[in-house]
């Protein structure tokens, strides 16, 4: 007679246990934040909405993203209007009240950092620019640190039970990050003052961090694709300035860079921009970036 009751109790206990140990769902708008979330919440189920091959400005608010946004306990996005063309649609369609703007679960990383190139006045004749500043700040180690701290805090608010473990993971990450940052800075010291032509302002923070200079942009205006006339004007610029390399990301068309490289003998290179299968962690991304910048520097 006792057996069924025991079974029921045991069953209920198991159900409770599985409910509490159910992984936290994290929605990362960009792959870099998915990689950072992995450092702070390694047990969470993390979904990256964009890959290293996708331009985060141009993402479709597709059904799969709405479904993932609906399931998420926390979303981490760059903010600074980077996702303005699609994230509000996900918020509107997913009916997830925890991810309303202003809730602890909706984390815009830009709120944790000071962005570069904020604009007092913006109009579209200037191209696709944002008053909130450049949103590609994951290539700034000091800003990654600030985002990590705020992320750990938010995770603790959303999932109080594991607050201590998020703080533990954070401090572990920060130790490794700071050691690695010093190593990268030491290695990259010789690059100081090098000049680059880049696609968009994607590497703005990398250049800022290592005191490198972007002397030209393959885009005639932010958000507009390279035009023959504009590329031709960069030939002259490459001659006048001592350009080390022409660089672009995995989601940007390589043809403009190749065209210019062929006519100027300046090397072109696709740099690791964010986490991918080849570079799963932010450490891997930075390592690859420094390696490639060093190679381009030595080859010159």
């Amino acid at each position: 007679m006792h057996t069924p009751i025991k079974k029921m109790v045991l069953g209920a206990a198991l159900f409770v246990a599985s409910a509490t140990s159910q992984a936290l769902n994290i929605f990362a708008c960009e792959a870099e934040w998915a990689a950072l979330a992995k450092e702070i919440a390694p047990d969470a189920s993390i979904y990256a909405a964009t890959s290293a091959l996708q331009d985060p400005h141009h993402v479709q608010a597709r059904p799969s993203l709405i479904a993932q946004f609906r399931r998420a306990d926390l979303a981490i996005c760059s903010g600074a209007e980077l996702e303005v063309g699609w994230l509000p649609m996900l918020q509107m369609k997913a009916n997830n009240r925890d991810l309303r703007t202003g809730q602890p679960g909706m984390f815009f990383a830009a709120e944790a950092v000071e962005t570069l190139d904020k604009l007092e006045r913006v109009d579209r004749s200037m191209g696709d620019v944002h008053a909130a500043g450049n949103p590609h700040f994951h290539l700034s180690p000091s800003r990654v640190e600030l985002v990590a701290k705020e992320l750990a805090k938010r995770l603790g608010e959303v999932d109080e039970e594991n607050r201590a473990s998020y703080q533990q993971n954070l401090s572990d990450f920060l130790t490794r990050w700071s050691t690695a940052t010093q190593r990268w800075e030491a290695r990259a010291d010789v690059l100081n003052g090098n000049k680059y032509i880049a696609y968009h302002s994607s590497f703005r923070y990398l250049f800022d961090w290592l005191s490198l200079e972007q002397v030209g942009d393959l885009e005639p205006q932010p958000g507009l694709p390279p035009t023959p006339a504009h590329l031709a004007s960069l030939i002259e610029l490459s001659r006048n300035e001592n350009v080390t390399a022409i660089v672009y990301t995995g989601y940007q068309d390589s043809r403009g860079a190749q065209w210019l490289s062929e006519r100027t003998d300046v090397k072109e290179s696709q740099l690791a921009y964010t986490a991918s299968e080849a570079h799963p962690s932010l450490f891997d991304v930075y390592e690859s970036l420094i390696d490639e910048l060093m190679r381009l520097h030595d080859d010159k």
Binding site: A61, R62, P63, M89, M92, D128, D208, E213, Y251
Partner: protein
């Protein structure tokens, strides 16, 4: 271009780290700003398509002014005003004025006010996002191009990895009351039920399927009242004069064809290399609309049916091409006819319209497009005709960058 080096480089002092961390906890004011956006749309075309919104010559298209913002912690609000020229007059139409809940639990959402119904694939999308000058003939004939009305919607999104959304709407129904239907005193003129699902296939492909049912209390016609009318075309011809007579705003009147019960099925597929929509992408979509119970009092075992397939190819950021093929077959009452045995029989006749459309868009930026468009319209039935409409138009967006629906 010279890249300035900021003072936050290489090393971040502890004090600035703390300053930024505290900054993070303060609300960001920019998020609470009102979004104001305007769409400017103008065109020139030769002739006009049947049941369409656009007319011969130079005209203002579907120009919009939209305001939106969170109302408070629980609601989001949006208002869209449409300015269009019609019969040489500028008309102002309130297309949307709704509040949407943002704080309901368990994936539920409620929208109330004037809104675009969420049936089908195209209906909830704003006209200015279209790649063609007009909606497909099925939408023009059966939904009045786009169906917006006063009412309320409840929807639910499932907590699954595959997107599943269910919704139910009730509307006043005036906007979908047939042009020639008897006024209906029911306070709920239109009710709908819909389901959508969708997902990804690999990195490059995504899809969505939808099914909807719509019940229209003013979707049936009385055969005896339409002795003189061969369906919509005659009604359309005296549209202007009729409107002037009773000083009534004609634009936004219900469609010419309907049915008490309507089903809509839609399928959409999108592709971009590695899912990167920066340069190239392809959108294929198809919809089927079937309306039944077309006439009161008579037993007409026929349906009004319309469908289309369309493909939009973004060749590069500056150029896109789009083509669409669509058909609509609609039934109209012809006359009563007395058989040899003395019984009276209602006679109906069908008219079939085929549209073949092509458009080419030049996009100087993400916010502007200049489009050349052409549609060949063929009608068969009581009378047959063929007509080709060509035109050019611009469509630009200023102000806040609105997010795009799938």
């Amino acid at each position: 271009m010279k890249t300035k080096t900021s003072n936050i480089s290489k090393t971040t002092s502890i004090s600035s780290a703390i300053a930024f961390a505290s900054l993070a906890s303060t609300p960001v004011l920019a998020q609470s700003d009102i979004n104001i956006s305007a769409v400017l749309d103008g065109y020139y075309q030769e002739d006009a398509l049947s049941e369409g919104l656009r007319e011969d010559g130079f005209n203002l298209g579907h120009s919009e002014l939209a305001l939106s913002a969170p109302v408070d912690d629980s609601f989001y609000g949006k208002m869209t005003l449409v300015v269009a020229s019609h019969e040489g007059e500028v008309e102002l139409e309130l297309e949307e004025a709704f509040i949407q809940t943002t704080a309901l639990p368990a994936g539920f959402g409620i929208r109330a006010g004037r809104m675009l119904s969420d049936i089908g694939y195209l209906n909830n999308q704003h006209l200015h996002t279209d790649s063609f000058s007009e909606r497909p003939i099925a939408y023009r004939a059966m939904l009045g191009s786009h169906y917006a009305d006063d009412g309320i919607r409840l929807n639910w999104v499932a907590p699954t990895e595959t997107y599943i959304a269910l919704g139910a709407e009730v509307f006043a129904g005036d906007a979908l009351a047939l042009e020639d239907a008897e006024p209906n005193d029911s306070s709920i003129g239109v009710s709908t039920l819909y389901a959508k699902m969708g997902g990804d296939i690999g990195n490059s492909n995504s899809w969505q399927l939808g099914a909807a049912y719509l019940r229209n209390e003013s979707g049936q016609l009385h055969p005896e009242e339409h002795h003189d009318a061969h369906g919509a075309h005659d009604a359309d011809a005296d549209h202007g004069a009729h409107g002037d007579e009773d000083g009534h705003d004609d634009h936004g009147h219900g469609p010419a064809y309907g049915g008490k019960n309507m089903a809509i099925f839609d399928a959409t597929y999108k592709w971009a290399p590695n899912g990167n929509y920066k340069y190239q992408s392809l959108t294929l979509s198809a919809e089927l609309l079937i309306a039944d119970d077309l006439y009161e009092e008579v037993d007409l075992d026929e349906q009004n049916t319309g469908w289309y397939v369309s493909g939009i190819y973004q060749i590069n950021p500056n150029w896109s091409v789009a083509s669409r093929y669509g058909k609509f077959k609609g039934w109209s009452f012809h006359e009563f006819h007395t058989e040899a045995d003395g019984t009276t029989v209602a006679e109906f006749e069908a008219e079939e319209t085929t549209n073949t459309s092509l458009s080419v868009g030049w996009h100087p930026s993400h916010f502007s497009v200049i489009r050349l468009f052409a549609t060949k319209e063929e009608t068969t039935g009581d009378s047959s005709s063929s007509n080709t409409i060509v035109g050019i138009g611009f469509n630009t967006a200023i102000g806040a960058h609105g997010a795009h629906a799938y």
